[in-house]
């Protein structure tokens, strides 16, 4: 039936290493430090979920990797983004753009604005092959058809000639995924890919992404504000707050035993995570103002565990004593937070 896509990467190969990435935006109100030293790895075959609320910097991270930071306001001011050893942060935009779509692909939140409304979807997918690989027209269309079937568009033979507005939201997202995986990228970045979709469709699209990853062995970065939607698919999670990663580790570890008060607070704020009839325990205060961050740990004004050192010293991302390697938290009092479970 549908041809299986060839495996594109050796399992466990290190695909992406982001090291101390710093991004700033220049605004009329001052310089905003959108990312303040973000570091994480992505290996082939694994899915890393980057989670956070507004202003956390999660989308900016993806934009920085793909050289999509809004110009001229945004710029990378420090750190490295090494894709298979090659530093994207210091490379010219043209080189980065070349890598994108061939090796690294991205899917966005709103497929309606990412798909060109005046071209047929078959044409748009075929265009990817024709432009990047010089594939002749007939062959490109055949490949486009194959991809549409792979992503689960029913009646692909007829629908390949349709325009984007003739599809539902979930189907458009699938088409975008088809375009993204067309050239067999090693790394796929999804920036809130299911946020704008209905709940039943969300699950289908997430399952599709998981299937594709299992087949091709590509690495995935999923960015979301919804802790639940990535729980089935992600292997590791990185929680972001005010431009820094405040906790990271295997997703089960992080969700079951949060070592940072923010993660704990988030988990207690989610209605589905709280028993029925029980009151939610929200995090006090408001999201951080990036123009006026508090000194020390950015979370300290809202933190039930805050002590003096939290107000003066920025906590480093470290492994709490006695806990498994790989689970890191940026908190002076992780040990107390963990024992509060």
């Amino acid at each position: 039936m549908t041809a299986t896509l060839p495996t594109v990467a050796d399992a466990d190969e290190l695909l992406l290493r982001v090291d101390d990435l710093q991004v700033e935006f220049s605004t009329s109100a001052g310089i905003v430090r959108a990312l303040d030293g973000v570091s994480f790895d992505v290996r082939a075959g694994e899915t890393v979920a980057i989670l956070g609320e507004s202003g956390s910097g999660k989308s900016v991270t993806a934009q920085a990797i793909m050289a999509l930071l809004p110009q001229p306001a945004g710029s990378i001011v420090g750190g490295e983004i090494r894709y298979q050893g090659f530093d994207l942060a210091s490379a010219p935009t043209s080189k980065v753009r070349e890598l994108c779509a061939t090796e690294i692909a991205m899917i966005f939140q709103d497929p309606l604005s990412s798909l060109n409304p005046v071209f047929r979807v078959g044409w748009q997918i075929a265009e990817v092959f024709r432009r990047r690989r010089g594939t002749p027209k007939q062959e490109a269309w055949a490949k486009a058809l194959e991809l549409l079937k792979r992503v689960g568009i029913p009646d692909a033979e007829t629908r390949i000639r349709d325009y984007p507005h003739q599809f539902s939201g979930g189907q458009r997202q699938r088409i975008m995924i088809a375009m993204a995986i067309a050239l067999e990228p090693k790394l796929l970045i999804g920036d809130e890919p299911t946020t704008a979709l209905d709940v039943t469709v969300q699950k289908q699209v997430m399952d599709l992404l998981a299937d594709l990853q299992a087949e091709t062995g590509m690495g995935m970065i999923l960015i979301s504000h919804d802790l639940g939607v990535v729980a089935d698919v992600a292997d590791r999670a990185a929680i972001m707050y005010a431009g820094r990663i405040v906790e990271t580790g295997e997703i089960r570890e992080v969700y079951d035993h949060p070592a940072h008060p923010y993660t704990q607070g988030l988990l207690n704020s989610i209605p589905s995570n709280v028993s029925i009839g029980q009151r939610l325990v929200p995090i006090e205060g408001s999201p951080p103002n990036l123009l006026a961050l508090p000194s020390g740990c950015a979370f300290n004004p809202r933190c039930p565990f805050a002590v003096d050192v939290c107000r003066s010293v920025v906590p480093p991302l470290r492994q709490p004593e006695g806990w498994p390697a790989g689970h890191l938290a940026a908190c002076h009092r992780s040990e107390e937070v963990l024992s509060h479970d």
Binding site: F25, S26, T27, S28, A29, V32, A34, S54, G55, G57, S59, V60, P70, A73, G74, Q109, D110, E192, T195, A196, L197, H225, P287, N289, L290, L291
Partner: protein, 295 residues
């Protein structure tokens, strides 16, 4: 269902807006228009200008001549001996008066109709917009000439005529802004409170329309001034006693070869005034909403 706009995105938008702030495109035209206003108000007072006075001995003197009676004709004199500079400033006064008055009349009328059309929709909108369409089908200047010859020459009639030809753009811009605002939730919130139509139109919708109306008004000012000059040039504008830039230009057409300054200098002044308002309007439009287009 979408995630809220990130703070980074919001600060970016603020940055973009601020950088387009008070630039040269706003200050320079404002200064030019300011000079015109000052000149129009002050100069005629200094010169004691009498439009019916003739001094045939001084006629057709080039710019920069010192006249026998001691006065300095910085822009020369016209065919009946009047100082051209004073006459131009009187003309500027007429232009500015007609411009502002027309904007007020056409503006109030047009904005009101636009608000009604946009808010009520349905047949009200249909009727008003078809009237506007019919009117726009007439070339403005022909309509103006027709009305002016029917009504006769007078300053007020000029204002009325030009208002009639220009209200449509205000109505259109207001209506389109209202159409985009009326689906905003804060307008629905006002309806849920039980607000009357008047409340919604004047307190909720109108304040949101001020920015595009301001932009349109600035640009229309230039059009109005030009139209008045054209009508006066053709003889169907302001009456004989009042010197408009248009009538002065007209008077100079017979002497273009010999006393070129009579037509040319008022023409240049007119061009500068219209250009200044046009640039200001553009700059304001960019500042408030780059997606805005005139009707």
């Amino acid at each position: 269902m979408t995630a809220p706009p990130t703070i980074a995105m919001q600060t970016m938008q603020r940055a973009r807006r601020a950088r387009r702030g008070v630039t040269a495109r706003i200050t320079v035209p404002l200064v030019v228009i300011g000079l015109f206003i000052v000149g129009a108000v002050v100069v005629p007072m200094l010169y004691d200008f009498d439009p019916l006075h003739t001094e045939l001995l001084f006629r057709l003197q080039p710019p920069g001549t010192t006249l026998p009676d001691g006065s300095y004709a910085v822009f020369g004199t016209d065919q009946v001996g009047q100082d051209l500079f004073a006459q131009m400033m009187m003309g500027a006064r007429v232009s500015l008066t007609v411009g502002v008055s027309t904007l007020l009349v056409a503006g109030v009328f047009g904005v009101l109709l636009g608000l009604l059309a946009g808010h009520f929709g349905g047949w009200v909108d249909n009727v008003l917009m078809r009237v506007a369409d019919v009117q726009l089908a007439f070339p403005a200047i022909l309509l103006a000439i027709l009305l002016a010859s029917v009504l006769g020459p007078s300053l007020w009639n000029v204002i009325v005529v030009i208002s009639i030809t220009n209200w449509v753009v205000f109505a259109r811009v207001t209506r389109s802004q209202v159409l985009s605002l009326r689906t905003r939730e804060y307008v629905e919130a006002a309806r849920t409170l039980g607000a009357s139509h008047a409340h919604i139109i004047f307190r909720t919708l109108l304040p949101g329309c001020v920015a595009p109306i301001l932009v349109v008004a600035t640009v229309e000012f230039g059009h109005v001034v030009l139209l008045e000059a054209a009508l006066s040039f053709l003889g169907v504008g302001v009456p004989l006693g009042i010197p408009s830039l248009g009538t002065t230009i007209n008077n100079g057409t017979a002497y273009l070869g010999t006393a070129w300054w009579i037509s040319t200098l008022p023409g240049i002044a007119l061009a500068i005034l219209v250009l200044a308002t046009g640039i200001l309007g553009d700059a304001l439009r960019d500042r408030f909403d780059p997606k805005l287009r005139s009707a």
